[in-house]
Amino acid sequence: MKKYSLYILLPAFIVISILAMVNEIRKGHTLYHEEWAHAGVVAHSPEEYPAVFDFDPLAGLQTNAGEIHLPPPPLQKETWPCSQCHDKDTSNPERRVLSAAHEEIVLKHDEEHRWCLDCHDFADRDKLHLASGEKVSFEESYRLCGQCHGPTYRDWRLGIHGRRTGYWNGSKSYLLCVHCHSPHEPKFKPLTPLPPPLRPEFLRGQDSAKETQ
Protein backbone atom coordinates (compact mmCIF):
# COMPACT_ATOMS: atom_id res chain seq x y z
CA MET A 1 0.00 0.00 0.00
CA LYS A 2 2.71 2.40 1.00
CA LYS A 3 4.34 2.00 -2.36
CA TYR A 4 1.13 2.86 -4.23
CA SER A 5 0.37 5.90 -2.16
CA LEU A 6 3.72 7.24 -3.22
CA TYR A 7 2.74 6.80 -6.85
CA ILE A 8 -0.32 8.95 -6.28
CA LEU A 9 1.07 11.45 -3.83
CA LEU A 10 4.20 12.30 -5.73
CA PRO A 11 2.53 13.22 -9.05
CA ALA A 12 -0.20 15.02 -7.15
CA PHE A 13 2.40 17.00 -5.28
CA ILE A 14 4.21 17.87 -8.50
CA VAL A 15 1.02 18.91 -10.26
CA ILE A 16 -0.08 21.03 -7.35
CA SER A 17 3.28 22.76 -7.10
CA ILE A 18 3.30 23.52 -10.81
CA LEU A 19 -0.21 24.90 -10.66
CA ALA A 20 0.71 26.96 -7.65
CA MET A 21 3.75 28.34 -9.43
CA VAL A 22 1.85 29.19 -12.58
CA ASN A 23 -0.87 30.81 -10.53
CA GLU A 24 1.68 32.76 -8.54
CA ILE A 25 3.25 34.10 -11.71
CA ARG A 26 -0.10 35.05 -13.23
CA LYS A 27 -1.36 36.59 -10.05
CA GLY A 28 1.94 38.27 -9.55
CA HIS A 29 1.53 40.20 -12.76
CA THR A 30 -2.06 41.19 -12.39
CA LEU A 31 -1.74 42.08 -8.76
CA TYR A 32 1.43 43.94 -9.54
CA HIS A 33 0.06 47.47 -9.85
CA GLU A 34 -3.48 46.54 -10.70
CA GLU A 35 -4.22 50.15 -11.47
CA TRP A 36 -2.23 49.81 -14.69
CA ALA A 37 -3.31 46.31 -15.67
CA HIS A 38 -4.26 47.60 -19.13
CA ALA A 39 -0.78 49.04 -19.73
CA GLY A 40 2.20 47.25 -21.24
CA VAL A 41 0.10 44.99 -23.42
CA VAL A 42 1.18 46.32 -26.81
CA ALA A 43 4.72 47.11 -27.96
CA HIS A 44 5.46 50.64 -29.14
CA SER A 45 8.45 52.01 -30.98
CA PRO A 46 9.96 55.49 -31.23
CA GLU A 47 8.83 55.83 -34.85
CA GLU A 48 5.31 56.36 -33.60
CA TYR A 49 6.39 59.64 -32.01
CA PRO A 50 8.27 61.55 -34.71
CA ALA A 51 7.50 64.92 -33.10
CA VAL A 52 9.32 63.94 -29.91
CA PHE A 53 12.56 63.19 -31.72
CA ASP A 54 12.33 65.88 -34.33
CA PHE A 55 15.33 67.93 -33.28
CA ASP A 56 18.99 68.02 -34.15
CA PRO A 57 21.15 68.01 -31.02
CA LEU A 58 24.15 69.18 -33.04
CA ALA A 59 22.32 72.13 -34.61
CA GLY A 60 24.37 75.29 -34.53
CA LEU A 61 27.51 73.50 -33.39
CA GLN A 62 30.21 74.26 -35.91
CA THR A 63 33.28 72.57 -34.58
CA ASN A 64 34.42 70.34 -31.80
CA ALA A 65 36.55 73.07 -30.29
CA GLY A 66 34.77 73.65 -27.01
CA GLU A 67 32.74 76.78 -27.57
CA ILE A 68 29.33 77.24 -26.04
CA HIS A 69 26.37 77.75 -28.28
CA LEU A 70 23.13 79.29 -27.13
CA PRO A 71 20.19 78.54 -29.40
CA PRO A 72 18.03 81.52 -30.46
CA PRO A 73 15.18 82.46 -28.10
CA PRO A 74 11.82 80.85 -29.00
CA LEU A 75 10.14 84.13 -29.96
CA GLN A 76 7.06 83.98 -32.11
CA LYS A 77 7.35 85.41 -35.61
CA GLU A 78 4.05 87.33 -35.40
CA THR A 79 5.11 89.51 -32.49
CA TRP A 80 8.76 90.05 -33.37
CA PRO A 81 10.13 92.67 -33.50
CA CYS A 82 8.05 94.25 -30.77
CA SER A 83 8.93 97.68 -32.10
CA GLN A 84 6.64 97.15 -35.08
CA CYS A 85 3.81 98.17 -32.71
CA HIS A 86 5.56 99.61 -29.70
CA ASP A 87 7.28 102.92 -29.52
CA LYS A 88 7.46 105.53 -26.79
CA ASP A 89 4.04 106.95 -27.65
CA THR A 90 2.10 103.72 -27.69
CA SER A 91 3.59 102.42 -24.47
CA ASN A 92 1.67 102.66 -21.27
CA PRO A 93 3.41 102.17 -17.93
CA GLU A 94 0.18 101.57 -16.01
CA ARG A 95 -0.57 98.23 -14.46
CA ARG A 96 -3.82 96.96 -15.99
CA VAL A 97 -5.60 94.09 -17.66
CA LEU A 98 -4.50 93.99 -21.29
CA SER A 99 -7.35 93.75 -23.77
CA ALA A 100 -6.16 95.20 -27.06
CA ALA A 101 -3.26 92.75 -27.40
CA HIS A 102 -1.39 89.96 -25.58
CA GLU A 103 -4.59 88.74 -23.93
CA GLU A 104 -3.18 85.20 -24.06
CA ILE A 105 -0.38 86.14 -21.68
CA VAL A 106 -1.27 85.21 -18.14
CA LEU A 107 1.18 86.17 -15.46
CA LYS A 108 1.66 83.33 -12.97
CA HIS A 109 5.06 84.26 -11.77
CA ASP A 110 4.92 85.97 -8.45
CA GLU A 111 2.25 88.05 -10.18
CA GLU A 112 1.24 90.02 -7.10
CA HIS A 113 4.61 91.70 -7.07
CA ARG A 114 5.28 91.74 -10.76
CA TRP A 115 4.29 93.69 -13.81
CA CYS A 116 5.36 93.32 -17.43
CA LEU A 117 7.69 96.26 -17.25
CA ASP A 118 9.75 94.74 -14.43
CA CYS A 119 11.26 92.63 -17.16
CA HIS A 120 10.38 94.30 -20.45
CA ASP A 121 11.93 97.65 -21.13
CA PHE A 122 9.46 100.49 -21.32
CA ALA A 123 11.23 102.62 -23.89
CA ASP A 124 12.86 99.92 -26.00
CA ARG A 125 10.40 97.07 -26.21
CA ASP A 126 12.86 94.92 -28.17
CA LYS A 127 14.91 94.60 -25.01
CA LEU A 128 14.58 93.34 -21.49
CA HIS A 129 16.06 95.18 -18.54
CA LEU A 130 17.67 94.21 -15.27
CA ALA A 131 16.89 95.76 -11.91
CA SER A 132 19.96 97.94 -12.39
CA GLY A 133 18.37 99.39 -15.52
CA GLU A 134 20.89 97.69 -17.79
CA LYS A 135 19.24 96.55 -21.01
CA VAL A 136 19.72 92.97 -22.11
CA SER A 137 18.68 91.39 -25.37
CA PHE A 138 16.28 88.46 -25.60
CA GLU A 139 19.28 86.29 -26.47
CA GLU A 140 20.52 86.86 -22.92
CA SER A 141 17.25 86.53 -21.04
CA TYR A 142 18.99 84.14 -18.62
CA ARG A 143 20.69 87.13 -17.04
CA LEU A 144 17.27 88.50 -16.18
CA CYS A 145 16.20 85.23 -14.60
CA GLY A 146 19.54 85.00 -12.83
CA GLN A 147 18.82 88.17 -10.86
CA CYS A 148 16.11 86.52 -8.84
CA HIS A 149 17.10 82.85 -9.19
CA GLY A 150 20.76 83.01 -8.26
CA PRO A 151 21.38 79.39 -7.19
CA THR A 152 19.50 77.96 -10.18
CA TYR A 153 21.33 80.30 -12.51
CA ARG A 154 24.67 79.21 -11.07
CA ASP A 155 23.68 75.56 -11.51
CA TRP A 156 22.65 76.27 -15.09
CA ARG A 157 26.03 77.78 -15.86
CA LEU A 158 27.73 74.71 -14.41
CA GLY A 159 25.54 72.38 -16.45
CA ILE A 160 23.63 71.06 -13.44
CA HIS A 161 20.29 72.75 -14.17
CA GLY A 162 18.92 72.72 -17.70
CA ARG A 163 20.10 70.71 -20.64
CA ARG A 164 23.20 70.54 -22.78
CA THR A 165 23.55 68.76 -26.09
CA GLY A 166 26.48 68.23 -28.41
CA TYR A 167 29.87 67.04 -27.21
CA TRP A 168 30.71 66.18 -23.61
CA ASN A 169 34.35 66.99 -24.34
CA GLY A 170 33.79 69.85 -26.79
CA SER A 171 31.28 72.33 -28.04
CA LYS A 172 27.91 72.25 -26.40
CA SER A 173 24.57 73.83 -26.86
CA TYR A 174 22.72 75.06 -23.71
CA LEU A 175 19.00 75.48 -23.71
CA LEU A 176 17.93 78.90 -22.42
CA CYS A 177 15.71 79.13 -19.36
CA VAL A 178 12.85 80.27 -21.57
CA HIS A 179 13.05 77.13 -23.73
CA CYS A 180 11.80 75.16 -20.76
CA HIS A 181 10.04 77.80 -18.66
CA SER A 182 7.64 80.30 -20.10
CA PRO A 183 8.76 83.53 -18.44
CA HIS A 184 5.15 84.40 -17.72
CA GLU A 185 4.08 81.02 -16.34
CA PRO A 186 7.35 79.37 -15.46
CA LYS A 187 6.10 76.17 -13.90
CA PHE A 188 7.24 73.29 -16.10
CA LYS A 189 4.26 71.96 -18.04
CA PRO A 190 3.32 68.32 -17.41
CA LEU A 191 3.94 65.94 -20.32
CA THR A 192 2.18 62.90 -21.67
CA PRO A 193 4.44 59.94 -20.96
CA LEU A 194 5.45 57.63 -23.79
CA PRO A 195 3.96 54.15 -23.32
CA PRO A 196 5.20 51.69 -20.72
CA PRO A 197 7.31 48.67 -21.61
CA LEU A 198 5.72 45.42 -22.64
CA ARG A 199 4.95 43.08 -19.77
CA PRO A 200 6.96 39.88 -19.99
CA GLU A 201 3.88 37.74 -20.53
CA PHE A 202 3.12 39.67 -23.74
CA LEU A 203 6.67 39.70 -25.05
CA ARG A 204 6.08 36.87 -27.47
CA GLY A 205 5.02 37.41 -31.02
CA GLN A 206 4.46 41.15 -30.82
CA ASP A 207 5.48 42.88 -33.96
CA SER A 208 5.36 46.61 -33.74
CA ALA A 209 8.03 46.67 -36.44
CA LYS A 210 5.47 45.57 -38.98
CA GLU A 211 3.19 48.50 -38.36
CA THR A 212 5.94 50.98 -38.88
CA GLN A 213 7.60 49.37 -41.87
Binding site: Y32, H33, W36, H38, A39, G40, A43, H44, S45, P46, E47, Y49, V52, F53, P57, L58, N64, D155, L158, G159, I160, H161, G162, R163, R164, T165, G166, Y167, W168, N169, G170, L175, C180, F188, P190, L191, T192, P193, L194, P195, P196, P197, L198, R199, L203, R204, Q206, D207, S208, A209, K210, T212, Q213
Partner: protein, 310 residues
Protein backbone atom coordinates in the same frame (compact mmCIF):
# COMPACT_ATOMS: atom_id res chain seq x y z
CA UNK B 1 37.05 62.81 -4.11
CA UNK B 2 40.14 61.09 -2.74
CA UNK B 3 38.42 57.85 -3.54
CA UNK B 4 38.41 58.82 -7.18
CA UNK B 5 42.00 59.90 -7.34
CA UNK B 6 43.54 56.90 -5.63
CA UNK B 7 41.52 54.36 -7.41
CA UNK B 8 43.24 51.84 -9.60
CA UNK B 9 41.76 52.65 -12.98
CA UNK B 10 42.48 49.35 -14.55
CA UNK B 11 39.39 47.18 -14.51
CA UNK B 12 39.87 43.88 -12.79
CA UNK B 13 38.73 41.83 -15.74
CA UNK B 14 41.11 43.28 -18.29
CA UNK B 15 44.33 41.80 -17.02
CA UNK B 16 43.41 38.16 -16.86
CA UNK B 17 43.86 36.04 -19.99
CA UNK B 18 40.44 35.42 -21.42
CA UNK B 19 39.14 32.46 -23.30
CA UNK B 20 42.28 30.37 -23.74
CA UNK B 21 40.90 26.89 -23.28
CA UNK B 22 38.16 27.45 -25.77
CA UNK B 23 40.66 28.65 -28.32
CA UNK B 24 42.90 25.66 -27.97
CA UNK B 25 39.93 23.49 -28.39
CA UNK B 26 38.92 25.41 -31.47
CA UNK B 27 42.31 24.94 -33.03
CA UNK B 28 41.99 21.23 -32.58
CA UNK B 29 38.55 21.35 -34.04
CA UNK B 30 39.60 23.39 -37.04
CA UNK B 31 40.54 20.32 -39.02
CA UNK B 32 37.14 18.84 -38.49
CA UNK B 33 35.60 22.07 -39.60
CA UNK B 34 37.63 22.16 -42.77
CA UNK B 35 36.02 18.89 -43.64
CA UNK B 36 32.66 20.35 -42.77
CA UNK B 37 33.34 23.24 -45.07
CA UNK B 38 33.63 20.87 -47.99
CA UNK B 39 30.28 19.48 -47.01
CA UNK B 40 28.41 22.76 -47.38
CA UNK B 41 28.95 25.31 -44.55
CA UNK B 42 29.66 28.78 -45.92
CA UNK B 43 33.05 30.35 -45.46
CA UNK B 44 31.47 33.23 -43.58
CA UNK B 45 29.86 30.97 -41.04
CA UNK B 46 33.10 29.19 -40.36
CA UNK B 47 34.98 32.48 -40.10
CA UNK B 48 32.43 33.74 -37.63
CA UNK B 49 32.66 30.55 -35.63
CA UNK B 50 36.43 30.67 -35.50
CA UNK B 51 36.62 34.31 -34.46
CA UNK B 52 38.98 34.79 -31.53
CA UNK B 53 38.19 36.62 -28.32
CA UNK B 54 38.00 40.34 -29.01
CA UNK B 55 40.96 41.19 -26.81
CA UNK B 56 43.17 38.71 -28.68
CA UNK B 57 42.37 39.94 -32.15
CA UNK B 58 45.22 41.64 -33.98
CA UNK B 59 44.33 44.93 -35.70
CA UNK B 60 44.22 43.17 -39.08
CA UNK B 61 42.02 40.41 -37.78
CA UNK B 62 39.73 42.98 -36.21
CA UNK B 63 39.45 44.72 -39.56
CA UNK B 64 38.33 41.53 -41.29
CA UNK B 65 35.86 40.80 -38.52
CA UNK B 66 34.35 44.27 -38.78
CA UNK B 67 34.25 44.09 -42.57
CA UNK B 68 32.42 40.80 -42.30
CA UNK B 69 29.91 42.22 -39.81
CA UNK B 70 29.30 45.27 -41.97
CA UNK B 71 28.78 43.09 -45.01
CA UNK B 72 26.37 40.84 -43.17
CA UNK B 73 24.35 43.77 -41.91
CA UNK B 74 24.28 45.33 -45.35
CA UNK B 75 23.03 42.13 -46.93
CA UNK B 76 20.34 41.71 -44.34
CA UNK B 77 19.13 45.32 -44.11
CA UNK B 78 20.10 46.79 -47.46
CA UNK B 79 21.60 49.81 -45.72
CA UNK B 80 25.24 50.82 -45.70
CA UNK B 81 26.49 50.81 -42.12
CA UNK B 82 29.81 51.52 -40.45
CA UNK B 83 30.92 49.67 -37.37
CA UNK B 84 33.54 51.49 -35.33
CA UNK B 85 35.97 49.77 -32.98
CA UNK B 86 37.26 53.00 -31.49
CA UNK B 87 39.06 52.25 -28.23
CA UNK B 88 38.78 54.11 -24.94
CA UNK B 89 40.64 57.42 -24.77
CA UNK B 90 43.28 57.74 -22.04
CA UNK B 91 42.37 59.80 -18.97
CA UNK B 92 38.66 59.22 -19.41
CA UNK B 93 36.34 57.53 -16.97
CA UNK B 94 32.72 58.00 -17.91
CA UNK B 95 30.11 58.85 -15.34
CA UNK B 96 26.43 59.60 -15.60
CA UNK B 97 24.18 61.60 -13.35
CA UNK B 98 20.46 61.68 -12.87
CA UNK B 99 18.61 64.43 -11.08
CA UNK B 100 15.72 62.80 -9.25
CA UNK B 101 14.22 66.14 -8.32
CA UNK B 102 13.73 66.95 -12.01
CA UNK B 103 12.84 63.64 -13.62
CA UNK B 104 9.13 63.55 -14.43
CA UNK B 105 8.96 60.00 -15.79
CA UNK B 106 8.03 60.94 -19.36
CA UNK B 107 10.05 58.06 -20.88
CA UNK B 108 11.51 60.21 -23.66
CA UNK B 109 14.92 58.76 -22.76
CA UNK B 110 13.65 55.19 -23.10
CA UNK B 111 12.53 55.68 -26.67
CA UNK B 112 15.45 57.91 -27.59
CA UNK B 113 17.65 55.03 -26.50
CA UNK B 114 15.67 52.50 -28.55
CA UNK B 115 16.10 54.70 -31.62
CA UNK B 116 19.79 55.37 -31.18
CA UNK B 117 20.81 51.87 -30.23
CA UNK B 118 18.81 49.89 -32.79
CA UNK B 119 16.97 48.06 -30.05
CA UNK B 120 14.71 45.31 -31.25
CA UNK B 121 11.28 46.59 -32.17
CA UNK B 122 9.52 43.26 -32.59
CA UNK B 123 10.82 41.40 -29.57
CA UNK B 124 10.80 44.52 -27.50
CA UNK B 125 13.90 45.33 -25.52
CA UNK B 126 14.40 48.59 -23.68
CA UNK B 127 17.66 49.33 -21.94
CA UNK B 128 16.16 51.99 -19.70
CA UNK B 129 13.36 51.22 -17.31
CA UNK B 130 11.65 54.11 -15.54
CA UNK B 131 10.19 53.24 -12.17
CA UNK B 132 7.44 55.16 -10.47
CA UNK B 133 7.59 55.27 -6.73
CA UNK B 134 5.54 56.90 -4.00
CA UNK B 135 7.44 59.79 -2.52
CA UNK B 136 6.79 58.51 0.97
CA UNK B 137 8.52 55.22 0.22
CA UNK B 138 11.81 56.63 -1.05
CA UNK B 139 14.20 54.96 -3.44
CA UNK B 140 13.32 51.29 -3.45
CA UNK B 141 13.66 49.44 -6.73
CA UNK B 142 11.82 46.30 -5.67
CA UNK B 143 8.58 48.00 -4.87
CA UNK B 144 8.45 50.46 -7.77
CA UNK B 145 6.17 50.31 -10.77
CA UNK B 146 7.42 50.44 -14.39
CA UNK B 147 3.94 50.20 -15.96
CA UNK B 148 2.45 53.55 -14.89
CA UNK B 149 0.53 55.12 -17.74
CA UNK B 150 -1.37 58.25 -16.66
CA UNK B 151 -2.45 61.03 -19.03
CA UNK B 152 0.17 63.35 -17.65
CA UNK B 153 3.34 63.06 -15.61
CA UNK B 154 4.52 63.78 -13.00
CA UNK B 155 1.73 62.40 -10.85
CA UNK B 156 1.13 64.10 -7.54
CA UNK B 157 2.91 62.30 -4.72
CA UNK B 158 5.18 60.19 -6.94
CA UNK B 159 8.72 60.42 -8.16
CA UNK B 160 10.53 58.60 -10.92
CA UNK B 161 13.73 56.56 -11.04
CA UNK B 162 15.11 55.64 -14.45
CA UNK B 163 17.37 52.59 -14.19
CA UNK B 164 19.74 51.17 -16.77
CA UNK B 165 23.23 49.67 -16.63
CA UNK B 166 25.09 51.34 -13.77
CA UNK B 167 28.51 50.62 -15.32
CA UNK B 168 29.87 49.39 -12.03
CA UNK B 169 33.55 49.50 -11.33
CA UNK B 170 33.15 46.16 -9.54
CA UNK B 171 30.60 44.61 -11.87
CA UNK B 172 29.13 41.34 -10.62
CA UNK B 173 28.00 40.50 -14.15
CA UNK B 174 31.59 40.48 -15.37
CA UNK B 175 32.66 38.29 -12.51
CA UNK B 176 30.15 35.57 -13.28
CA UNK B 177 30.49 35.41 -17.06
CA UNK B 178 31.87 31.92 -17.70
CA UNK B 179 33.36 32.82 -21.11
CA UNK B 180 34.54 36.39 -20.44
CA UNK B 181 32.23 37.82 -23.05
CA UNK B 182 31.69 40.93 -20.91
CA UNK B 183 34.22 43.17 -19.22
CA UNK B 184 34.82 46.76 -18.22
CA UNK B 185 36.79 48.90 -20.60
CA UNK B 186 39.41 51.38 -19.38
CA UNK B 187 36.91 54.23 -19.72
CA UNK B 188 34.52 52.42 -17.39
CA UNK B 189 32.02 51.18 -19.95
CA UNK B 190 30.97 47.60 -19.27
CA UNK B 191 30.76 46.02 -22.71
CA UNK B 192 29.37 42.78 -24.10
CA UNK B 193 30.93 41.07 -27.10
CA UNK B 194 27.83 39.78 -28.87
CA UNK B 195 30.04 37.44 -30.90
CA UNK B 196 31.44 35.79 -27.82
CA UNK B 197 28.36 35.66 -25.58
CA UNK B 198 26.93 32.16 -25.28
CA UNK B 199 23.60 33.32 -23.89
CA UNK B 200 23.81 31.54 -20.53
CA UNK B 201 22.30 34.59 -18.79
CA UNK B 202 24.40 34.20 -15.65
CA UNK B 203 25.17 37.91 -15.90
CA UNK B 204 21.48 38.71 -15.87
CA UNK B 205 20.93 36.98 -12.60
CA UNK B 206 24.08 38.52 -11.16
CA UNK B 207 23.08 42.08 -12.04
CA UNK B 208 21.37 43.68 -9.03
CA UNK B 209 19.82 46.37 -11.24
CA UNK B 210 18.03 44.19 -13.79
CA UNK B 211 19.90 46.08 -16.46
CA UNK B 212 20.74 43.21 -18.78
CA UNK B 213 18.36 41.93 -21.41
CA UNK B 214 18.24 38.72 -23.37
CA UNK B 215 17.36 38.38 -27.03
CA UNK B 216 14.76 35.66 -26.88
CA UNK B 217 13.91 36.19 -30.52
CA UNK B 218 15.88 37.46 -33.47
CA UNK B 219 15.93 41.19 -32.91
CA UNK B 220 14.81 43.31 -35.82
CA UNK B 221 14.78 46.97 -36.74
CA UNK B 222 13.09 48.20 -39.91
CA UNK B 223 15.84 49.20 -42.37
CA UNK B 224 14.67 52.77 -42.75
CA UNK B 225 14.88 53.29 -39.00
CA UNK B 226 18.26 51.65 -38.59
CA UNK B 227 20.94 53.90 -37.13
CA UNK B 228 23.87 53.20 -39.48
CA UNK B 229 26.55 54.65 -37.18
CA UNK B 230 27.49 51.72 -35.05
CA UNK B 231 30.12 50.47 -32.66
CA UNK B 232 31.27 46.89 -32.25
CA UNK B 233 30.19 46.93 -28.59
CA UNK B 234 27.22 49.16 -29.13
CA UNK B 235 24.28 49.37 -31.45
CA UNK B 236 25.34 46.95 -34.17
CA UNK B 237 22.79 44.26 -34.97
CA UNK B 238 22.68 41.57 -32.33
CA UNK B 239 22.05 37.93 -33.06
CA UNK B 240 19.40 35.95 -31.26
CA UNK B 241 20.41 34.41 -27.95
CA UNK B 242 22.82 37.03 -26.64
CA UNK B 243 22.63 39.46 -23.77
CA UNK B 244 22.68 43.21 -24.29
CA UNK B 245 22.45 46.36 -22.19
CA UNK B 246 23.18 50.07 -22.03
CA UNK B 247 26.65 50.91 -23.34
CA UNK B 248 26.61 54.62 -22.45
CA UNK B 249 25.96 54.98 -26.20
CA UNK B 250 29.52 53.89 -26.88
CA UNK B 251 29.20 54.78 -30.56
CA UNK B 252 28.49 58.37 -29.52
CA UNK B 253 30.47 58.88 -26.35
CA UNK B 254 33.72 57.52 -27.74
CA UNK B 255 33.34 60.18 -30.43
CA UNK B 256 32.86 62.85 -27.78
CA UNK B 257 29.10 63.18 -28.04
CA UNK B 258 26.51 62.99 -25.27
CA UNK B 259 24.46 59.80 -24.95
CA UNK B 260 21.07 59.82 -26.65
CA UNK B 261 19.13 59.73 -23.38
CA UNK B 262 20.83 62.92 -22.18
CA UNK B 263 19.82 64.74 -25.33
CA UNK B 264 16.28 63.37 -25.30
CA UNK B 265 15.51 64.45 -21.74
CA UNK B 266 13.11 67.43 -21.82
CA UNK B 267 13.75 68.41 -18.21
CA UNK B 268 17.51 68.15 -18.35
CA UNK B 269 17.68 65.56 -15.58
CA UNK B 270 20.36 63.46 -17.24
CA UNK B 271 24.02 64.39 -17.04
CA UNK B 272 27.12 62.85 -18.48
CA UNK B 273 30.84 63.47 -18.52
CA UNK B 274 34.36 62.50 -17.61
CA UNK B 275 34.79 61.74 -13.91
CA UNK B 276 38.50 62.46 -14.16
CA UNK B 277 37.94 66.00 -15.43
CA UNK B 278 37.36 68.45 -12.58
CA UNK B 279 35.43 70.82 -14.82
CA UNK B 280 32.99 68.31 -16.22
CA UNK B 281 29.31 68.60 -15.33
CA UNK B 282 29.35 65.28 -13.55
CA UNK B 283 32.21 66.36 -11.27
CA UNK B 284 30.51 69.69 -10.55
CA UNK B 285 27.47 67.73 -9.46
CA UNK B 286 29.51 65.44 -7.22
CA UNK B 287 31.08 68.43 -5.58
CA UNK B 288 27.90 70.44 -5.08
CA UNK B 289 24.99 68.05 -4.69
CA UNK B 290 24.16 65.08 -2.57
CA UNK B 291 24.89 62.16 -4.88
CA UNK B 292 24.23 58.52 -4.17
CA UNK B 293 24.31 55.23 -6.04
CA UNK B 294 21.72 52.49 -6.18
CA UNK B 295 22.22 49.59 -3.78
CA UNK B 296 25.44 51.01 -2.43
CA UNK B 297 25.48 48.25 0.18
CA UNK B 298 26.43 45.75 -2.53
CA UNK B 299 29.68 47.62 -3.16
CA UNK B 300 29.33 47.34 -6.93
CA UNK B 301 30.63 50.92 -7.21
CA UNK B 302 28.43 52.23 -10.00
CA UNK B 303 29.56 55.14 -12.15
CA UNK B 304 25.93 56.15 -12.43
CA UNK B 305 25.12 58.73 -9.78
CA UNK B 306 21.68 59.83 -8.69
CA UNK B 307 21.22 63.16 -6.98
CA UNK B 308 18.76 65.73 -5.76
CA UNK B 309 19.33 69.28 -6.95
CA UNK B 310 16.98 70.82 -4.44
Amino acid sequence: MSDLNNRNLKPAAADSEPGMPRRDFLKAAAGTLATLALSGCTKEAIEAFLQKHFQELSPEELKTVVARLERECQEKQGVKVSISTKAAAPGVLFGAGLDLSRCIGCRRCVYGCVKENNLSRNHQIQWIRVLEQEKAKGVNLEDANPYYDPKEVPREGYFYIPVSCQHCRRPPCVKVCPVKATWSEPDGIVVVDYNWCIGCRCCMSACPYGARHFNWGTPSVPSKHLNPRMHYFGNRPRPRGVVEKCTFCIQRTREGRYPACVEACPVGARKFGNLLDRKSEIRQIMERKRVFVLKAELNTQPTFYYFYSL
